[in-house]
């Protein structure tokens, strides 16, 4: 699958990188959906000997390929929310020299990145690579509710029901972009939704 090139944006918007295999005592790879392909691209038998993979398929079909890499530990989670306790436990037991690899959707990378910084993992030991959906995790600035997998702009807040436009302003603490009421100055005038990058 071709990698999506995000257009240039404002300075709060995260810039994702490209994974490379690094030397380290142990490796933690957290991926969702097409992020599996980024892991497959860098995997070697030596790397996998000390690697723990946490994978959330989100409907994608890559779990068997990852399992076939024979990592030291492999966990397939049904959702990020179901996996986050495990991620925290793994990070709390991490030793110096751990290398972290985050790949897949922005939502997955943003939330897992928040866990790594809360756990005190130096940011220089965390790599990212975006793969797959360009949908965003959005915080409604009005009700504070999070709406996942937002592909269209504007969209309806899944909590308060307001019509929100999608900003590029991003909070790493919320691991979310900001959604702001689109018809505050002209009630009911909702532009036709289109893809965020269209």
């Amino acid at each position: 699958m071709a990698k999506f090139e995000f257009p240039p944006s404002i300075l709060s918007r995260p810039v994702w990188g490209r994974l490379e295999a690094r030397s380290g005592k142990s490796h933690l790879m957290i991926a969702d959906a097409e992020g599996a392909e980024a892991i497959l691209d860098i995997a070697t038998p030596e790397l996998m000997e000390n690697t723990h993979i946490i994978y959330i398929p989100k409907g994608a079909n890559h779990a068997d390929k990852l399992r076939a890499l024979a990592p030291a530990q492999f966990y397939e989670g049904p959702s990020y929310d179901a996996s986050v306790q495990r991620i925290r436990r793994v990070l709390s037991g991490a030793h110096m020299g751990l290398q972290v690899y985050l790949t897949g959707t922005e939502s997955l990378m943003g939330q897992a990145m928040r866990e790594t910084s809360t756990a005190g993992i130096p940011h220089s030991a965390v790599q990212t690579e975006h793969r797959g959906s360009v949908a965003r995790r959005m915080q409604c600035v009005h009700c504070k509710g999070i709406t996942e997998d937002v592909e269209l702009d504007p969209f309806v807040c899944s909590h308060c029901g307001l019509n929100l436009f999608v900003r590029d302003h991003y909070s790493r603490r919320h691991a979310a972009y900001q959604g702001v009421c689109v018809d505050a100055e002209d009630h009911g005038n909702i532009p036709e939704p289109k893809g965020i990058y269209e």
């Binding site: 302003h169 505050a184 100055e185």
Partner: protein, 355 residues
């Protein structure tokens, strides 16, 4: 002078009014007939008697009403006041700074009595007389930052300094020009300013950061910033934008004079002694167009500034749709006469309107 505190509101019936005294001392933000972003910093070392620059933390006729409005905002949305765990010491620094400044600058209104770490704080206008132990949070009804900023006009952003960077790690933000503390908390200086157009390209934030990182104890700095607000609404927060945004469309040629307000922020910057944090008070002053037009110089200048403002800025500041109506109104007060340099109204020397 003794300040007469107004009984007024910044919401619903909007009974907020500026007295003649308040109009005369309004911090008109344009020192010339045009405006563009700049790092317009200067030392905050007093100013002309009676001006908003004179005292370190200006107290004016709106004090009690503003504190009442803040309490209302916090009741509805406690997330407007947040402090990350490592910022408590900076909160004590801020409490000390405000108590010292206010008790020294307004001894008839505020008193601070210190006996070791046992402090007694008297705020006469608000009817507060509290004794507490400095640096012991359990002796105050709120955390130190929240306690003192419930008694001080203006928003307060408390910025941690580390890795040659400033971080928005605490704040009391209830009168903001459309930015969310809850969203921006924890961001660095470039991140929280990311949505501002044009200024990044002009290198404004790189230079401003350099300046701010070097602010020393006892040498505060200040600058003015501005935007436009329809109705004297202090809480122009993004959180409530879906409620107040519609008010921008309620402007008409008949009501623009009293409904349209120039919103000026007196931003000051103080280094805090124990935490090495930087506190960034953002004090908001509102003045409607018709009151501003009583100063002929301001009438001439405001028209020219708004007329020549780049559309990107009018859009960012949220008044692009109302700009033509503003210009229709303001042009009545511009007779083409030259204006004197500087922000002061120069009432005695500027000629009356020749129209």
């Amino acid at each position: 002078m003794t300040i007469q505190f107004n009984d007024e509101t910044f919401r619903d019936d909007y009974s907020f009014r500026n007295s003649e005294w308040a109009i005369k001392r309004f911090p008109f933000p344009f020192h010339e007939d045009s405006y563009m972003y700049s790092v317009n910093m200067e030392q905050h070392r007093g100013g002309p008697a009676g001006s908003v620059y004179e005292k370190r933390f200006d107290v004016d006729e709106h004090y009690l009403a503003e504190m009442k409005d803040r309490a209302l905002v916090l009741d509805q949305d406690p997330l407007r006041c947040q402090s990350l765990p490592h910022m408590t010491l900076a909160g004590w620094d801020l409490l000390e700074l405000i108590m010292e400044c206010k008790s020294e600058d307004y001894p008839d209104l505020f008193e601070l009595h210190r006996n070791g770490n046992t402090w007694r704080w008297v705020n006469k206008p608000m009817g507060i007389d509290d004794t507490f132990t400095f640096l012991d949070e359990t002796t105050l009804p709120y955390g130190p930052m929240e306690y003192i900023t419930r008694q001080a006009q203006g928003d307060f952003a408390v910025l941690d300094q580390r890795d040659d960077m400033l971080w928005m790690d605490a704040g009391m933000i209830t009168t903001q020009a459309d930015w969310s503390l809850d969203f921006d908390i924890g961001m660095n200086f470039f991140e929280w300013h990311a949505p501002v157009p044009l200024a990044h390209e002009k290198g404004i934030f790189i230079r401003a950061l350099k300046f701010l990182l070097n602010i020393q104890q006892g040498a505060p700095a200040r600058r003015l910033n501005w935007t436009m607000t329809v109705n004297p609404l202090l809480d122009t927060s993004p959180e409530n934008y879906h409620k107040w945004g519609i008010q921008k469309t309620e402007l008409s040629p008949e009501n623009i004079g009293h409904k349209q307000h120039l919103r000026v922020e007196l931003q000051t910057f103080y280094r805090l002694p124990r935490s090495n944090a930087l506190v960034f008070p953002i004090r908001c002053y509102l003045c409607n167009f018709q009151d501003m037009m009583t100063m002929p110089k301001w009438g001439r200048r405001l028209h020219r500034v708004i007329r020549d403002l780049p559309d990107e800025l009018a859009t960012y500041k949220g008044f692009i749709d109302n700009k033509p109506m503003m210009l229709d109104y303001l042009s009545q007060f511009d007779d083409g006469q030259p204006t004197s340099p500087g922000i002061w109204p120069d009432q005695e020397t500027e000629p009356p309107l020749q129209k």
